[in-house]
Symmetry: C2
Subunit: 343 residues, 2 copies
């Protein structure tokens, strides 16, 4: 079901044009503007096929075509131009980011500002942080044969809990024993201090229940990450208003709302992923507010311990190529600045 060369070119033209103009694009326009030596009628036939394949849609009969979510996905995966920053952009970036950096917080702010300015989208940046909350007590409680409750008390005197589904949950006595082991081994530790030897030791103590240790540790880390507050900065929220897709104020309002709430921002940034730069288009995002938006996201880390994320939010009709290149450029800068700060 691969696209023919011509279909590819037509799809590319449609997406590029739509990214620029936000207007549905018709066969005649393509024929004229992109001069590919075929008539508009032929293009119409191809467009009809592209629509059948799900790459483009019509807002209404007898209007031009608009890329669909699948179309954008294909674009990002297979035909996005690999732009690099223009010299002006790089210089601006250097100037903005290295200007007066004397602490991480400031760098994060500047990063967010730079991202928003260069892309004209909305930037979210989370601070890399060192996890510091200490575990005090861990207790597991059986719920049913597959589920247990994990309860944790931290040195900040907060109690957190989370249900946990296991292939087969041990019974009360066993859980109690395991809870004791966990408390003994982890009490007083931050999650940074849970290292390989410690894990190996616990695996041994867990004996035949070793297989449930990692899910439990994962949950504990999650709870603490939740507890540690990570600062999040945004910039360029107002850029949203410039896009015709947000002319309806209520849509914009929902996004502004989210941008003001730390929890919402953290949810948007989500868990760090393995990939370098991730592009999440429209409803690929599970967060409802962003169903009309795309999110471009990257993570960075310092010595694999402390990680932060940077992301861009824009309409699904984003200039993905440019946004990705700016994000990459900034990522480079962050890394070098952080390295410099570390010394």
């Amino acid at each position: 079901m691969a696209l023919s060369d011509r279909q590819f070119k037509i799809l590319e033209a449609i997406i590029n044009d739509y990214i620029k103009t936000a207007e549905p694009i018709g066969s005649r326009t393509i024929a004229k503007k992109y001069a590919m030596g075929i008539s508009s009628a032929t293009i119409r036939n191809e467009m009809s096929d592209l629509e059948d394949l799900g790459f483009i849609t019509q807002p209404h009969t007898s209007s031009g075509r608009v890329p669909s979510q699948k179309g954008y996905r294909f674009y990002v995966d297979s035909m996005m131009p690999h732009k690099s920053l223009t010299p002006e952009e790089s210089m601006l970036l250097q100037r903005m980011i290295f200007n007066n950096i004397y602490q991480v917080e400031q760098m994060m702010r500047q990063t967010a500002t730079a991202l928003a300015r260069l892309t004209r989208y909305t930037a979210i940046v989370s601070e890399p942080y060192l996890k510091k909350t200490r575990i005090k007590h861990v207790q597991m409680i059986p719920v049913d044969d597959k589920t247990i409750f994990l309860v944790m008390v931290t040195d900040t005197k907060s109690v957190k809990n989370q249900p946990l589904t296991l292939p087969a949950a041990p019974d009360y006595d066993v859980l109690n024993g395991l809870s004791n082991i966990l408390t003994q081994q982890l009490s007083g530790k931050t999650i940074r201090e849970i290292d390989r030897p410690l894990i190996d030791e616990m695996l041994k103590s867990f004996g035949r229940h070793a297989h449930i240790l990692m899910p439990i540790l994962g949950a504990i880390v999650g709870l603490i990450q939740d507890e540690d507050d990570m600062r999040v900065f945004t910039s360029g929220a107002k850029n949203i208003l410039a896009f015709p897709e947000f002319a309806d104020i209520r849509k914009a309002e929902a996004i502004f709302q989210a941008l003001e709430e730390r929890d919402a921002l953290i949810a948007i940034l989500g868990q760090p992923q393995a990939e370098d730069i991730q592009v999440i288009i429209g409803t690929e995002n599970t967060i409802d507010i962003l169903k009309d938006c795309s999110l471009i996201k990257a993570n960075y880390s310092i010595d694999n311990q402390s990680t932060g994320s940077i992301a861009l939010i824009g309409p699904t009709r984003m200039d993905y190529g440019h946004a990705v290149s700016v994000l990459q450029g900034i990522l480079q800068n962050i890394k070098s600045v952080l390295a410099a700060l570390d010394n």
Copy 2:
């Protein structure tokens, strides 16, 4: 030119109604809704007079009346109801502000959030800060017979200058002498350290030029405040979108832009004023972006040295009574929290 009792009541009705509905209000509506025992025709006559007096205007012939800026000013000065917080509001406020306060920054954030939530306007809060930049050198340069240039060098090696208009500017030699006195007395000092005895001493040294000392000191303090960076928090920017007066996205955009720029925010907060709570309506504000808005502003201080501001931005059609009462309530809370933190 005092208003008759009846005119007063009619104006009050118009303003209260308009604050609620954002719709021009006609004579019949007043007659029906506010049952003041006179016919709509009479009200029409009175409204015509109120319009001549400048308190209300018509968006177009044959539409209802809308309060003018002068009308709002009169309302705020003379007829604003003195509301106090509802018990729910006070409790919410207590909960929000005292919840988990362990540092000033967090309190500021929470204050901004609370203000925005309770009023549904946009809140700006600046952190109280200890001025720390030290003066190194002060030099005054004559420009013409009324104006001098004040140039200051600080220990952070930045040079700042500002024109200053005086009733009669001394000539070059005098200014030079006075500059020397200023530099001698102020060098190495922060603005916190400019106290009464020091000022008295300088007044003596200034001799017959004593009267220009205070404006000069004012300018110096201004320049340093400018230099010291003060953190500013905002909350509820998205509330702006809910007002029909900002249905035109471009207006909203300008405000969002300002809310994202620290310098703009500081300009909005402006210099601390003597008054407790200030209401600045529409074009009374010199900042262009806010010409369609009103600003309610208050300052607070710790031992008269370190001051911060809190402010609310809304459409000129604001519920001034409520906003002022919330601001007052929050001010109280800030003061007590700060006092507690101090110990």
